[in-house]
Amino acid sequence: MISITNLILVFLFGSLISYLLTKANKVLGSIFNFLLTAYALYFLWNIEVGRSEKLFNIFSNVQGSLTVTNLGKFFSLVSFLVLAFVAFFVIDWIRFKPRSYAAFNAFYLLMAGGSLGVFFANDLITLYVFWEIAVLASFLIIPMGDESSKKAAVTYAVMSALGSYMYLFAAFSILNRYGVISFKEVSINLLNEASIGYKWFVILFIAAAGIVKSGIFPLHTWLRKAYGGSPDAFTAAFSGQLSKLGSYVLAISLAVFPTVKMFSPLYQGVPTLNYILIWLGNISIILGTFMAIRQNDMKQLIAYSSVANGGYILVGLATLDSIGFAGGLFHVFNHAIISVMVFLSFAVVILRTGTSKIDEMGGLIWRMPMTFVTYLVGIISLAGIPPTSGFISKWMIFNTLVRHGMFVTAAIAFIGSVGSFLYVFRPLAGVFLGQLKKKHYDLKEASIIMLIPMLLMVALTVLLGVYPKPILDLIVSVETELGIKPLEHAGTIIKTPLGSWNTITVFIMFAVGFIIAFILYLLFPKAKKVELTNQYTGGEFLYNYDLYHYATGFYRFIERLYDKHPSFEKLYEMIGVFFKSIGDFVTGLIYKPSPSGYIFWISIVILILYWVRW
């Protein structure tokens, strides 16, 4: 078995090979990508926890190293599951990409390599290094998407930089204060740290990187445009894999650095800091849900849903409760798979129709039934409807919230769940149901190559919804490692103080329900199909489809509630404008049209320095 370091290097240099291969033959390069990610997945499945490798000297006295932990293993498995599936999808998808395809594949591997390093980094700075590699690689892929992606990429990079640099600042502060950076030693030092303020600063600053990456309020604004604009297949990996780096860092800052032991509990064993993070998660849930509802672009819609789901994950992790934390981790897995299903089916739709606007489509179920099924299962899981695995994780989180008496939070999480019904239904109805447009009559279903990963994900989701044991086992080992009371489960039965959950029973119940519903559907007469253009009014034919597309103003009644809402997106835009005006001011200050200005400054500097200093 090769070392992790070598595997990472294989990815980093593999990106060059991938570039050349793809340049020569698109499919070949993509197959290479798939094989590499698939091998990594296999490698990670078999990797033994506790392995440690020296990496490089960061400073003469500080050594960077890699260590395999259960937490890292869990996250990396989830990641490479997503990466491998998306890579498989890309094998066919990339044939339709006219430019930048070679760079796409190269950066894809670069991102994978970076992520691998992040999950096995043993210290703050090594993590940062790989983190930035992954960020850079993803930044490079984003602008290969549509027009809006150019700006989105920069916004993404800036927000990432904000998070990363807060993290880096904290990391160096720690290095300077304790002389160590490995997670284990740092957490020991933090436990003995006398200054409460310092602990707050460190944890919040480190968490900042995770907050940005997983799109938690208030640093979520980059997400809509970045997901919406980036290349369609990549969005799946972006949401399914890359955002999980954020969750990973959040898990580290909350559990590896044991906040429970560092801060006195505020309520029911949950420390203040965690409470604050839970509230950030709450807001993200609300915000993501309600913003998703009003999107017309299906990718941007699910992008907002990612904000909400990032919120769920954070809420789960921040409880630091046996079941809550497990729920958070489980949701990491679920959301990863859901993202792949949803965004890959979107990728197919966009590939075939050339648009991502909901109101420009309709009735695609008749042309792309398999894609529809993938999306359907994806959103069922997303909405947390049993018997999918999406329900289990949400249920674990609800359970914990209720148990800890956080009823407001629980209510919010519930509202978010209900809201998700609303938004996932909009693409469902707008894109797949309803009238098929004339121009879409000749559309074809996705190719076999594309369908394989999509349908495998469908199967996986249902399977794990029924039999979540493999995941739960992994989660238990993580919790054990982190000193959190491990989840009690018996393969398909999850035990909680509020009762237990038997996945098989639930599955059977729902399966029966579905069958009955389907029979009913077949029995009852169907509505007559009408051509959309056959509408007329006052003797005039109407050609303005959009006005009559029923996805237009779909949730107008809800949207009216918050039409003129204050938003952080606007706030950041304002900050941008503010900086530009400062920029103008500074430019004007320094850069003068006449030499007088320069001499003015020389004189002023002399006068000020002289009179101030001496």
């Binding site: 049209p593 006449s594 030499p595 007088s596 001499i599 003015f600 004189s603």
Partner: protein, 113 residues
């Protein structure tokens, strides 16, 4: 007194640069400042009752003012001349390009581009 004169000349030069709007006058002000600095340096080497630092039949043995500032000023003057020539040639070109040496008119023409 000489110190004050050179300081005032520096002040005049600075004032000139701060208030002028004609590019040529900047060069003039610059020259004033240069000259003032040179006067100042020379005066720093002046010793009352002493002679120009040249052994000659008029002053066969040393009874000289400080020769070093003079030597330095000689260098500074030549450097100043060089700068002046460069500035002048640049002005010729500026005038050729904008047909004016007024700062504001140039700014207008630049903005129009």
């Amino acid at each position: 007194m000489v110190y004050y004169i050179s300081f005032i000349l520096i002040g005049i030069g600075i004032y000139g640069i701060l208030t002028q709007k004609n590019l040529f006058k900047f060069l003039v002000s610059l020259t004033i400042i240069d000259t003032a600095i040179n006067i100042f340096i020379i005066s720093l080497g002046y010793i009352e009752g002493k002679d120009v630092p040249i052994y000659s039949k008029y002053t066969p043995v040393a009874n000289f003012v400080d020769p070093l500032p003079q030597a330095l000023v000689l260098t500074a003057i030549v450097i100043g001349v060089g700068t002046l020539a460069l500035g002048a040639s640049l002005l010729v070109r500026v005038y050729e390009k904008y047909e004016t040496l007024e700062v504001e008119e140039i700014a207008v023409k630049e903005a129009r581009k």
